[in-house]
């Protein structure tokens, strides 16, 4: 069995005064798309930034290892990290207008990425930049390479971001809510583009999203985070067919898109009562205050992430691996 491309072990991240990520462990294999799902405050973005050591100065990695192709990124030197970022791990963020420098042309920004990591001449880099713009589906790439970000629409800008991200053929792309700010008709195009490039260039993608439809259509595996912990990790099909963790079940049940033909006149959306703030001072499982299946033992200690027979993992002491549809738990 080949070693995974990215192997995170017991990664914990904190700000002064409180811990945001409580020792998460997961892996990403070469060439696969792993979705990281969770709601605000669950720590998914912080985890993603920590992988690339892009945390704000007030945050700190408290412990853990991030093994990327054999190197531990947590202890790597700043110089080593600069070689990794943009070249071996790339980042695509949510808001392309603020990720792109408004005073540089799009072509110049792509060239900058290329020349930072590869010893090529300016004209060769420029040629490559135009090829990349063509690759991501921007019409008239030669002309548009000399235009500024504000001359592009939101979807086009995000394509430019994709071009920059794949410019040096990284092994892993971290995409933090890449289509949340885009219209739904554009979202499909951009995600299809990313997926196509992934297959073609053999990259892995860590796709951070809150949209379960996106997870179902574009991810191979999914991880669910709640209050700084991973609570479930499975392949995508089993996840939607029989999610194990009560929070995952609740998310799927509450998801409006899952309502299908449902209408408010005939059925009520199943809620997860309360809010994530209740996890703050909980000594046991962080989801216990909101969990419909909570038993007293749940509040003793946070349950560890346990591996099941089929390779999936759940952090719940009472989760029952059954074929019962998720509807029943919250009905």
């Amino acid at each position: 069995m080949t070693a995974p491309l990215l192997d995170v072990r017991d990664l914990a991240i904190g700000f002064p005064g409180h811990v945001v990520v409580h020792g998460v462990s997961f892996h990403i294999n070469a060439g696969e798309t792993v979705a990281l799902v969770g709601e605000s405050g669950c720590g998914k973005s912080v985890t993603a930034f920590a992988l690339m050591r892009l945390l704000p100065p007030t945050a700190a990695i408290l412990r853990g290892r991030v093994l990327f192709d054999g190197t531990d990124l947590v202890t790597a030197s700043p110089a080593a990290m600069r070689e990794v970022r943009g070249k071996r791990i790339s980042l695509i963020q949510q808001e392309p207008m603020t990720s792109l420098n408004p005073v540089l042309t799009v072509g110049a920004q792509i060239v900058e990425v290329i020349r930072r990591h590869e010893p090529v001449t300016r004209s060769a880099a420029r040629q490559r930049a135009e090829e990349l713009l063509d690759l991501v589906g921007i019409p008239e790439p030669r002309r548009r390479a000399d235009e500024f970000p504000h001359q592009f629409s939101g979807g086009m800008r995000q394509r430019v971001m994709v071009a920059m991200a794949v410019a040096c053929q990284p092994r892993l792309i971290v995409a933090d809510e890449p289509t949340t700010a885009l219209d739904v008709t554009i979202q499909a195009q951009v995600l299809d583009l990313l997926d196509g490039l992934r297959r073609k260039l053999g990259m892995a993608v860590l796709l951070i999203t809150h949209d379960l439809g996106v997870v179902a259509q574009w991810a191979d595996r999914t991880m669910v985070m709640y209050a700084g912990r991973i609570v479930e990790q499975t392949a995508v099909r089993p996840f939607f067919r029989h999610p194990r963790h009560p929070y995952a079940r609740g998310l799927l049940a509450a998801s409006v898109s899952d309502a299908g033909d449902g209408h408010y006149t005939t059925r009520r959306l199943r809620e997860i009562p309360g809010s994530v703030a209740s996890a703050a001072h909980e000594p046991g499982c962080p989801f216990a205050p909101r969990c419909p299946e909570m038993i007293p033992a749940c509040r003793a200690a946070p349950p560890p992430l346990e591996r099941l027979a089929d390779g999936s993992e759940v952090a719940c002491i009472i989760s029952v691996p059954s074929e019962v549809p998720h509807v029943a738990a919250f009905g």
Partner: protein, 296 residues
């Protein structure tokens, strides 16, 4: 519904932070702010107690002229060329400086905030007219404007304060206008409009409390500037002839600069100290009130 109420009982997001407490906590961690406050309070204290510490008129000639500090136990800081007690002059001068400084700044703040708020909120031709007016006042050198106004009226402390206030409002107006222009697009302002709130209510009750932070910071600097302007006027003998102020003391001490330089140095030092303390307080307020400063 009651079960729902219980479940939505909230946990505070970031500790027990109410805006006031956060302010207090942040200020206590800022040594320069505290230093500035300490100096300022001392000066205010002396000004308040001037009548008690140094009864009588500081303009009275009470001693031998040009005594050095420490020469005579009755006059710890010496006397000036006319035999007036320097210490008494400093203490009573503090009153003048602070009173004129604060009232001038207050006037400037009120006028400037009003004009800036109306200009920023309404936009359109109102904005154009008021911006031109602001520019007009800004292009006239402030000190000269003050001199002209004082020359037209009488050189008394209230008129001086008025003049300085009138010269100082443009800075505040620009600031207020920028604040109101950006805040009027805020969603809670749109909500206020959709609820039928009148423009005065929106300007003063909805937007102004949110716009005050940079204006408050500017206030301390304005007081400092007003004190300096008043001192300059008095130095040039254009101040209130019935009052001793730090500026007038410097002016009176000028002829004796070579022999009794303390007559200039002491009031000059007082001015410098006051201005310094106001600047420190202003910086501290900026750190505390500015949401982007990272102290929130």
């Amino acid at each position: 519904m009651s079960a729902l109420s219980q479940e939505t009982a909230f946990a505070p997001l970031r500790g027990p932070a109410v805006i006031r407490h956060r302010l207090l906590r942040a200020s206590l961690h800022n040594p320069s702010f505290l230093l500035g406050l300490a100096i300022l309070f001392t000066i205010i204290g002396i000004a308040l107690a001037a009548g008690f510490l140094f009864p009588g008129d500081p303009q009275d000639m009470v001693g031998t002229p040009a005594l050095w500090p420490g020469q005579d136990a009755d006059f710890l800081l010496g006397t000036d060329s006319l035999g007036r007690d320097v210490a008494s002059g400093l203490a009573h001068g503090a009153r003048v400086s602070l009173l004129v400084g604060v009232s001038a700044a207050a006037l400037g703040l009120v006028i400037g905030t009003l004009i800036g708020a109306v200009s920023g909120y309404f936009g359109g031709w109102i904005d154009t007219v008021l911006v031109r007016l602001t520019e007009l006042f800004q292009t006239v050198p402030a000190f000269l404007l003050v001199i002209v106004i004082v020359a037209i009226g009488q050189p008394s402390a209230p008129v001086i304060a008025l003049a300085i206030g009138v010269a100082a409002w443009p800075t505040v107006a620009r600031l207020a206008r920028a604040q109101f222009r950006s805040l009027r697009e805020a969603e809670f302002v749109t909500a206020a409009r959709s609820l039928g709130y009148t423009a005065p209510r929106i300007i003063f009750v909805e937007i102004l409390p949110n716009a005050m932070a940079p204006i408050i910071v500017t206030a301390s600097v304005m007081v400092a500037n007003a004190i300096l302007t008043e001192a300059g006027l008095s130095f040039l003998n254009m101040g209130d002839p019935n009052l001793i102020s730090w500026g007038s003391m410097i002016g009176d001490g000028r002829p004796l600069l070579r022999t009794a330089w303390f007559l200039c140095a002491l009031p000059g030092g007082a001015i410098a100290l006051t201005v310094l303390s106001l600047n420190l307080v202003g910086d501290g307020l900026n750190d505390v009130l500015n949401p982007r400063s990272g102290l929130a």
